[in-house]
């Protein structure tokens, strides 16, 4: 075995490239967060993104809000199967915008899907979904047995 002269700059180079990779990865995750949960991951040849969601629980219902700017109403499908609410759809790039030369593309296009397990059962017949100002609002009324009940204490 021959002795190899230690070259500190080579070690440093390998080490710093690791750091840079890590930094890039963190930046990417940070970007995802700052943009409100939007992500287009092209490294796998897929385009998908995650719309931001707010969910509130009220005494009688759940209110789910999804940020879907520029998504056509017919491109969104909402399903509720055994307590799992799924919102899926696609955001298409308008045809006209394909002909220009782009200076910046930050918006995410493609398919999205989000699923949530609701904490308690809902009434299947009263579910309502409204799309306004780029926000989809789904209202799911709770089933009778899931509503809070007040039990009065009797004094004897």
């Amino acid at each position: 075995m021959s002795l190899i002269r230690w070259n500190p700059s080579r070690d440093l180079a390998a080490w710093s490239s690791d750091i840079f990779n890590m930094q890039r990865e963190i930046n990417r995750l940070f970007d995802t967060f700052v943009r409100g949960g939007t992500q287009a991951d092209e490294s796998f040849g897929l385009t998908y993104w995650t719309p931001a969601v707010d969910i509130a629980e009220r005494d009688n219902e759940y209110v789910v809000k999804v940020d879907l700017p520029g998504v056509e109403k017919d491109d969104v499908k909402i399903t509720l199967v055994s307590g799992v609410l799924t919102i899926r759809g696609e955001k298409k790039q308008e045809n006209e915008s394909k002909t220009g030369s782009f200076h910046r593309i930050e918006r995410s296009y493609g398919s999205f899907q989000r699923s949530f397990t609701l904490p308690s059962s809902v009434r299947n017949d009263g579910i309502d979904a409204v799309y306004k100002d780029g926000i989809l609002t789904i209202t799911l009324p709770k089933a009778e047995e899931a509503k809070p009940k007040q039990i009065e204490v009797r004094v004897k």
Binding site: L29, V34, G36, G37, T50, G100, F102, P119, G134
Partner: protein, 133 residues
């Protein structure tokens, strides 16, 4: 119990928990696309839940600025938050174009959470065909 299915959200949560302390960011940048055509540029910004009168669009010193505020959803008295990912509050973005702009003819339209601004080029910046005599 709510179950999240997507992995990046878990990481977001982690950061969110740190950031929602006192130094939470109140300023954010909406995503924009900028496309250039022969006679105009088109800026498209995603502004879900933003109303027309919550937007300010200005053109000054050749810089186009879109600023405004997204009002948070008003929680009813009996409401509890189960999930909160919508983060956009105050926002501002400025764009400088590499060519002259006809500032008087800029027009903007807000629909379905999408703001579309048409920025016409000044006559001097439009492509011209020169006829050979």
């Amino acid at each position: 119990m709510l179950v999240r299915l997507d992995y990046p959200q878990t990481f977001n949560n982690l950061i969110e928990n740190i950031l929602t302390q006192d130094f939470a960011p109140r300023h954010s940048h909406p995503a924009i696309d900028i496309a250039e055509y022969e006679n105009e540029s088109i800026v498209v910004a995603e502004l879900p839940g933003v109303k027309k009168d919550e937007l300010r669009i200005t053109f000054e010193n050749d810089v186009l600025t879109v600023a405004g505020e997204r009002k948070p959803y008003e929680m009813p008295r009996d409401g509890r938050v189960l999930l909160n990912e919508m983060r956009l509050r105050e926002f501002s973005r400025s764009i400088e174009f590499p060519h002259a702009i006809d500032g008087d003819k800029i027009s903007a339209d807000l629909q379905n959470g999408i703001l579309k601004i048409v920025v016409p080029k000044a006559a001097s910046a439009r492509p011209r065909t020169i006829e050979v005599k």
